[in-house]
């Protein structure tokens, strides 16, 4: 059963990590679909 929980935990960690990394790398939809002259924040 430990591996089931490990798999579940890994899925959450990977998902959070991917979301954070892609956002930091400028892959958010907002940034991708906006030009340089658009202020997003």
């Amino acid at each position: 059963m430990k591996t089931i929980f490990a798999g579940f935990a890994a899925m959450i960690v990977i998902a959070l990590g991917a979301g954070y990394a892609l956002d930091r790398a400028g892959f958010s939809t907002a940034e991708q679909s906006a030009g340089e002259n658009v202020r997003l924040d």
Binding site: K2, I4, G7, A10, A18, G19, F27
Partner: protein
């Protein structure tokens, strides 16, 4: 008796949608040609009506009527040999020479009718077929369970266990499996939410649920892809078809009947599951990547061209599409993504059934990794013999080294 009656009832209920006649559009080769003499060759009411009825129409009389190429002819003004209507038709059919400030092909598409086709299909056939694929599989398995019952272990358990899957194998399996369940659920919310959840749960709740589902779906996708790669690397060697698969298939794997055909680490049924997961998982992953990075990973027009070169397009009844816009390629990516996902849902439902309530002792293989020797002998006898022979070999080698040297 009651069990058999329940099985029959389940099958009858499942076949009910098939009994309802489906209205078919009369269209195709026998549709009479339209007389456009009254409009001087321009569009007629019948053209519009046929299009609105969803019939296949040949609109080349419009799409090809986009003016001449006498752009440089003197005295013809800025449009050259084309008139305003011809220019609008050129824009309508993406044949105009457009320059846009974004500089990419996506911005050059001003009008496309592919979107409406896709939307109609997504909200119609995809939802209906998808629903019945999932519900039909679950109902079929319920009927099978009522008829066949649980596949029991013959005789007594030995009490001795053998390691079926190592921790890393189980981790890869569960990473893939759990992420697929999450992706399946969130994907279904996104597909069915607006039509079926919003009227019941309210638009506000549905909007929040779908926004959350989209974020979860986009990010959990990476865990799914990692799990898929892990499972493929770890198990591909064990899933190459061999002669024992024929024996297994001839005896229906013991799932139907009471035979216990010999099998290696994976039997023919498991190999089919494995290759289905790999192939459909790969389709889902590649199309999913295209959807994750819209217009930056667009490839389906190339795939279609390749399929056409191999003669596969005609084989599966698809029309030749070489002029797909980037927008249409994104729509196609979603279509393949959803279709592959529904097929995989069917297969995984059957896999979950046989790995849990369908077969006694099967869950232990992925739960603790340890299975009883009686179970292993019944379902994977060749593999058990190989494991025992390997253990005996190790023990045989170990004994001399354990012995104290004579010196």
């Amino acid at each position: 008796m009651l069990r058999h009656f329940m099985a029959l009832l389940t099958l009858l209920l499942l076949s009910a949608p098939g009994l309802v006649p489906v209205a078919a559009h009369a269209q195709g080769a026998d549709t009479p040609a339209i007389d456009r003499s009254a409009t001087g060759g321009a569009q007629t009411l019948e053209d519009i009506m046929r299009r609105q009825r969803g019939e296949t129409i040949d609109d080349s009389f419009r799409s090809d009527n986009i003016g001449g190429n006498a752009v440089m002819a003197p005295g013809l003004g800025p449009l050259g040999g084309a008139s305003d209507p011809e220019l609008w038709r050129a824009l309508r059919y993406n044949k105009a020479d457009v320059t846009v400030s974004t500089g990419d092909d996506v911005g050059k598409v001003l009008m496309t009718d592919g979107g409406l086709k896709w939307l109609t299909w997504r909200e119609g056939r995809l939802q209906i077929w998808g629903f019945w694929m999932v519900v039909g599989t679950a109902g079929g398995l319920l009927a099978f369970f009522l008829l066949r019952g649980r596949i029991r272990i013959d005789g007594e358990l030995t009490g001795r266990t053998v390691t079926r899957f190592k921790a890393i194998e189980r981790f890869g399996h569960w990473l893939l499996g759990i992420s697929f369940l999450v992706l399946g659920a969130t994907g279904l919310f996104v597909l069915f939410g607006r039509k079926y959840l919003a009227p019941v749960l309210g638009k506000e709740f549905n909007a929040n649920l779908l926004a959350f589902s989209k974020v979860v779906h986009n990010n959990v996708a990476w865990a799914f892809m990692l799990g898929l790669i892990m499972v493929f690397v770890m198990w591909v060697v064990h899933n190459i078809p061999n002669r024992s698969d024929i024996t297994w298939l001839r005896q229906y794997g013991g799932i139907i009947g009471s035979a216990h055909p010999p099998a290696k680490k994976f039997n023919a049924g498991q190999k089919m599951i494995f290759w289905s997961v790999v192939i459909f998982g790969a389709v889902i992953s590649i199309t999913g990547l295209s959807l994750l990075f819209p217009y930056r990973f667009v490839f389906l027009a190339d795939v279609y061209a390749l399929m056409n070169d191999w003669g596969l397009m005609a084989l599966v009844g698809l029309e030749e599409r070489f002029d797909m816009t980037a927008q249409e390629q994104m729509q196609m990516a979603q279509a393949w993504h959803a279709m592959a996902a529904f097929i995989l849902m069917m297969i995984v439902t059957a896999h979950v059934y046989i790995g849990s309530i369908g077969m006694e002792g099967a869950f232990d293989a992925m739960g603790t990794g340890e299975v009883d020797e009686a179970w292993a002998h019944q379902h994977h006898s060749i593999w058990l013999d190989e494991v025992k022979a390997a253990e005996a070999g190790k023990t045989g080698e170990a004994k001399p080294s354990d012995a104290t040297p004579a010196e």
